[in-house]
Amino acid sequence: MISVRGPLTLVPTEAFAASKKRALKKFPDCNGDVDAFVDGLCQNPDQGDVFPSFQRITIRKVRLPLKAYGIGKSGGLRLLFFVYPDKMKLVPLFLYVKGQFADEKKVRQAANKTIQNVVKELNS
């Protein structure tokens, strides 16, 4: 696991924005909180659970509360993000609300589809 220090450059994508829009459809008041959190991640990216088996990059998943709706971390948002320490870049990948998908297979499918769109967007 690579520990990253210092401010990273945020790479915003339309694919992530679309995933955020879907996740926050029922919780529009939390838009600002998510943006602020993502900005904060660039200063301190060592947050959340690490996904294993990646050598030069880091994938993490962090749990966020929906404070405006009185929902704690356990029932709140899940943010998947990508850190590339060599290039000092951070890419938010996928955002969803706990319970948004019926099971873990649906989460995997939706996450893969969004990441696929992020890659397409960055390549174009």
Binding site: D49, F51, E104
Partner: protein, 143 residues
Amino acid sequence: MSVATYDQFKRVADLGSSLNLTFLSRYLRTFFFPLTLFASFLLTCFGHLILTQYVKLARVLFASCSGPCEGEACPIDRIKNDPIVLRATLKETLDTTISIRWAAPITHLLSLQYVMLDDLVEDIELACNAEFQSLTNDLAAAL
């Protein structure tokens, strides 16, 4: 992954499975006068401590995976099914308990455990997936 960590995990997993959660759900369905509820609450607190430890150790094992899955040799493979089975049992217990108004503290603890396990299962499902790994490599290349 150190062998000691896996042994630790196995010990906690065995202890967790010895807690008969199905029994707890039947017990609650049949008797729910305050004394029984108190006993069930203590049992649930004990279960909560064990399950928290179980998830922590499973996370350590999960984070220690260093490469693509190689079937039997993959450490994640060995812990993959346990959380799914445990989650199903917890769900059954939770469904029973939720209808008993006085059992709110028990339901709260059970749902916390359920979410912890569910997050672990989701993470394993995502990370142990060839498509996800290949996409993240593509992403690194695209940057």
